[in-house]
């Protein structure tokens, strides 16, 4: 596999990650959101493996495998079990309408391209071009957390944001040290369990996972 071909495949993966980030932003149904999130994790894992293969940094294979198990299998499964248990079926309500969200998203992509342009010029890594995509994924995850009302979608937004950070680490410096990555992975897993407990509490207290309800904490409002 020549370097340029690997770089091309890597940029295709980056494009797909960006596409799934937008998919997460515009998708209404919660199960489809989960699928998209799993796909994003899968593209991330492929991209990491390619970078690992080309650069010969073997710890990237381990983090790629970690991504596969955690973000493609375990986390979507936990969220799926939660959704199933809490019987969440209805369409997700958004604060801003979807075409508007898309336009804001495009603006964010341009912004992050502008922001990373100087870094990209200084860097000599093969993956330097994907840094803008990684930053855009972070921003889009943040935007998703802001524009959605539902607790589960906000968590998916948070996890997508983390995907973006991971991708940024791979594209800017060929990955974080192994210890840090293991720590982050463990954190995510713990976070998923804590989310689950929170979901149960929110839904038993308010009979819904709409976080707007949490604005009324006082009684007799």
């Amino acid at each position: 596999m020549s370097l340029t071909l690997a770089a091309q495949i890597n940029s295709v993966m980056a494009a797909l990650i960006l596409l799934t980030a937008f998919g997460l932003l515009v998708q209404r149904r919660i199960l489809a959101l989960l699928h998209l999130f799993a796909w994003q994790g899968f593209f991330l894992c492929v991209s990491t493996a390619i970078v690992g293969y080309v650069t010969g940094e073997h710890h990237l294979f381990i983090s790629s495998l970690l991504t596969l198990t955690l973000k493609v299998i375990v986390l979507p499964y936990i969220l799926y079990a939660l959704i199933h248990k809490l019987k969440i079926r209805k369409e997700i309500e958004t604060l801003v309408n979807i075409p508007m969200t898309m336009l804001i998203g495009i603006g964010l992509v341009i912004f992050s391209y502008h922001l990373t342009a100087p870094i990209t010029q200084l860097s000599t890594l093969m993956t330097r071009a994907t840094l803008a995509v990684a930053l855009a994924t972070v921003m889009l995850g943040l935007l998703m957390m802001v524009t959605r009302r539902h607790a589960v979608t906000q968590i998916i937004g948070f996890l997508a944001l983390e995907n973006g950070l991971f991708f940024a680490a791979t594209s800017a410096t060929y990955g974080m040290p192994m210890v840090v990555e293991l720590g982050v992975a463990l954190d995510l897993l713990i976070a998923a369990f804590i989310f689950g407990i929170f979901f149960f509490h929110i839904s038993t207290t308010f009979d819904s996972l709409d976080v707007d309800q949490m604005a009324r904490l006082k009684e007799g409002d």
Partner: protein
Amino acid sequence: MIVYSFAIEALQLLLLLLAAPAFAGWVRTVKCRMQGRSYAGIFQPYRDIARLFTKEVILAENASWIFRFTPYLVFGVTVMIGGIVPFISTDLPFAATADVIALVMLFAIIRFFTALAGMDIGTAFGGMGSSREMMIASLAEPAMLMAIFTVSLAGNSTSLTRMVQVMAHGEFVIRPSLAFALLAYIMVHLTETGRIPVDNPSTHLELTMIHEAMILEYSGRHLALIEWAGQMKLFIFSTLGIAVFCPWGIPASNDLLAIIGGGALLAVKLAVLGVILVLIETGMAKMRLFRLTEYLGSAFLLATLGMLSFFILE
């Protein structure tokens, strides 16, 4: 030599006129087969058009010249577009006269006059169809232009022949931007040719129809010309997609053998494309009119992402 290339141009126009109904018939046949209905064969559109030509034209009393003029304009402009899109050879004398932006504008002229003719008679259906068509057009056109700009960035030119040559004979590079542009183009293709998630091509007298509502008052040879032009539009949009996104096999010279080979390859590609179209149509339900902003918004988003990823990743 110049006479010879004009002969090739004439051959392309002849092919367009003759093959367009067959392609429409092929799509209908595959669709019927897929849905377990009996079908009339791929030559049924020819019979329909021939029958309509022999029928008498019935005009409404208050029809103005616009109503009578529109079918000829629609037909003429469609044939003209067919002369510009290089699908049997890239060495066409007409192809140099207009680039893709002009092509989009020519489609806009057709739409403008069809919408005017729809309102000209003053029936409720016509006006409704026209207003819907214009709403959809205002959303579809930016997406179409964005998709085309992405491809012209990759091809370094807005001229169709140049784009096809760069794509077909240049170095092969995997380009994510073109994949995005292709997805956006497919969505716009379905919109512009009035197919299922947007409009239903086989419906008459239904409250949800768009294109059929505008041409409801046409009869006889007028209707024949409009239907024929519609089939050519489907053919042109498909060949335009093939020429831009999958041009391998379109010959760069006017060598007759190469053209015959290219034509055979084009037929195969069109047959496959027809099946893909039918798969999309059978797999999807018609969308509510007000969901179309989201559908076409996504097409615009995809096209813009394509353009951005050209700058970011390539």
